[in-house]
Amino acid sequence: MAAAEKIYLRQTPAAPLPPPATRAGILGWMRANLFSSPLNIALTIVCAGFILWVAPQLLRFFIFDAVWSGADRQACLASPQHPDVGACWAFIRVWSSYFVYGFYPAADRWRVDLFFFALAFGIVWVAWLGAPRRGLGAVYLFVVLPVLSYVLLSGLPLLGLENVPTTQWGGILVTIVVATVGIAASLPLGILLALGRRSAMPAVRFFSVIFIEFVRGVPLITVLFMASVMLPLFVPDRFSPDKLVRALIGVALFASAYMAEVVRGGLVSISRGQYEAAQALGLPYWRMMGLVILPQALQVTLPNIVNTFIGLFKDTTLVFIVGIFDFLRTIEAARGDPHWITPVTSVTGYAFAALFYFVCCYGMSRYARNVEARLARAHRR
């Protein structure tokens, strides 16, 4: 009896011990990622110090000390009861409709809103990979929308929409118009140029190469100067195009040369077997390209195409220099307004513009990365 009591038999497994605190969990993560060596410790301290030094100042300037409402510059000047003035968001609020529409007549601004909505609808339709009938979406975006936008923005007296000259357009409207026209024109032109560069016909190849290399070798600003100063010389007086149209031509030609190189990269990546298979099926050139090669090439190079769009979107700011009131130019004009001149007005204006461009470009680049990841998944077997 006494001996039986001494027998000890464990009935349940012991609970697993927690991993050593220095290897797992938050401590382990910090050890591995922040404090793995003396150099890393030093770097971590320097970086943390930098962040702790900058972040509070930025937060204070842009949020806590910022002025959110006010009627004029007095609100954004330092005063005894408000010694540290942050960003002057009141200035942005007062000028916001100018930043969006420029001098577009107030009564007709619903047309601009409708244009923004129609554009956003088309972009979501085509860009969302799970959307139904994306082919139809492309037709909408590249055929229906341009006509619709032209009628909406420029006006058609027949339909009761009064003409609004482009000199009254401005702000985000112009930025979006320049970017979308550039994108919509550069994609087909770029594809044609890329095909031309790989064509068997020497004259076609020659002109394509000359155009692409010439445009890629010069700065956009000279192309814009050329479009705005030389183009009016090259056409008879009565056909002299509108200032905005000239800039649009310059941007579209410039972007199509870059697009051509991106598309060419996609074409090169398609294996010879695809061409040969299409030819073996007896497909003539355009059907081979349209049905077999281009769909694959464009899909492979879609991230690069989006990156070109991002570059183009940033480059639209250059129309500023040839005197067109794009978004950045409206910021420049507004920050010089004597009613609002304060030490913080410029910074606020630029910060607002930076936020706008950052959101647009970062959104596009995230989209490109998602598509890339999806493609990579499709290729992984």
């Binding site: 922040l34 970086c47 016909m201 010069v218 700065p219 100063v229 010389l233 008879p236 220099i321 950052f358």
Partner: protein
């Protein structure tokens, strides 16, 4: 044995292709001819001369930064062109150096195993790349440098440097008679160092003795020129900028336009170079690092002898295109009035002469020339470092 008869390949239609090409040539030629006729017509109506005779006419406008002698009353438009071109090359050269240094540092920081460092670098890249360069230039110029205090309340920095909204005023070095001896000694030191390096490397190949040359290098490049410099009587003086009533007198001035453009271009291009560097380093398979470690190389030597040489092959072509972008982007100087080629030539000269066709053509030709020469050098480099496949 059955002979397989292949169907004849589809007949090409050579005439169709020829007709298409002929049509293309005719259309392009027609457009060019029409443009020429219209331009001649429009120019004669506007009373604008054509040809390049304006090149030798007196310019008559001032330029705020000139690296060569230039005076508005006597210098020609041609001289103004060279002034602008040199200013472009100056900003491009400095920008390339700064952007490369910064870009490599950030690219390597992005690969750091330290979470904070890599994410800080990543945040920098994302922020800078997604904001238009023009906006950044305007920000640095209008919101930072032009917002500095005015002349009366300039910041006086150590070393006799003044900073205000008219620029950065530095002491100007004045070289005495014997300074060239010091310079010659420095050159001699550099050459000796190169020779020493070659010799020690040969010795290492032969005997395996590691090249430890740092003390000799310091002696040759730093100590030797300094000794010569002081023996020559330290012939270097500085003219310090002094505060005048309306202006800063003496010293060297760095214009705020120049500083803003340089800052924005370098910071912007550095973000792109950082991505290039990161992609290049990641392109070297990890097996290479492991193999180097298996051979017993230290981590520094692994990087220097195994990873970097292979990464450079991938890095250099896109790096060059970033350099070209920087050169082309320097034309944004026109937005803040830094007198680069576009601002001086396609801006002032075009406005005065009105000869748009000639002026724009010359400007474009310059950029094209720079691009072509760079791609040529690039191709030569590509041949030099390309893997010799066996």
């Amino acid at each position: 044995m059955v002979e397989i008869v292949l169907p004849a390949p589809p007949r090409r239609r050579p005439w169709g292709n020829l007709a298409l090409q002929a049509a293309l040539v005719v259309v392009v030629g027609g457009l060019a001819y029409g443009a020429y006729v219209n331009a001649a017509d429009n120019l004669s109506k506007a009373n604008i001369a054509s040809g390049f005779r304006f090149w030798n006419n007196t310019a008559g406008f001032d330029i705020s930064q000139t690296l060569i002698d230039y005076s508005p009353s006597t210098s020609t438009f041609g001289r103004a062109f060279w002034v602008g071109l040199l200013n472009t090359l100056l900003i491009a050269a400095l920008g390339i150096v700064l952007a490369t240094v910064l870009g490599f540092a950030i690219g390597i920081a992005r690969l750091s195993r330290n979470w904070l460092v890599s994410h800080l670098a990543g945040g920098y890249v994302e922020l800078i790349r997604n904001i238009p360069l023009l906006l950044q230039i305007l920000f640095w110029y209008n919101a930072v440098l032009k917002a500095l205090p005015d002349l009366r309340s300039s910041f006086a920095l150590p070393g006799g440097v003044f900073l205000n909204n008219r620029g950065l005023f530095l002491p100007r070095p004045q070289f005495g008679a014997g300074f060239s001896y010091g310079l010659a000694a420095f050159m001699l030191g550099v050459m000796a160092t190169v020779a020493l390096r070659v010799w020690t490397h040969r010795r290492q190949d032969r005997t395996g003795e590691p090249p430890r040359i740092l003390p000799y290098v310091l002696a040759l490049i730093v100590a030797f020129p300094l000794v010569v410099f002081f023996l020559a009587g330290a012939p270097l003086h500085f003219s310090f900028p002094a505060m005048g009533r309306f202006n800063v007198l003496g010293g060297t001035e760095i214009l705020p336009e120049f500083a803003a453009l340089l800052l924005a271009l370098s910071l912007y291009t550095a973000a792109f170079i950082a991505e290039v560097v990161r992609a290049g380093v990641l392109s070297v398979p990890h097996g290479q690092t492991e193999a180097a470690q298996a051979l017993g190389l230290r981590s520094g030597s692994t990087l220097r002898l195994v990873v970097v040489p292979q990464a450079m092959r991938v890095i250099v072509p896109p790096l060059t295109s970033q350099y070209l972008n920087l050169i082309k982007n320097s034309s944004l100087a026109v937005a803040i009035g830094y007198p680069d080629l576009v601002q001086v030539f396609a801006g002032s000269v075009l406005n005065i002469t009105g000869q748009a066709v000639e002026v724009i053509a010359i400007t474009m030709a310059v950029y094209l020339f720079i691009s072509l020469v760079t791609s040529l050098l690039m191709n030569l480099y590509g041949h030099a470092v390309g893997i010799v496949e066996r």
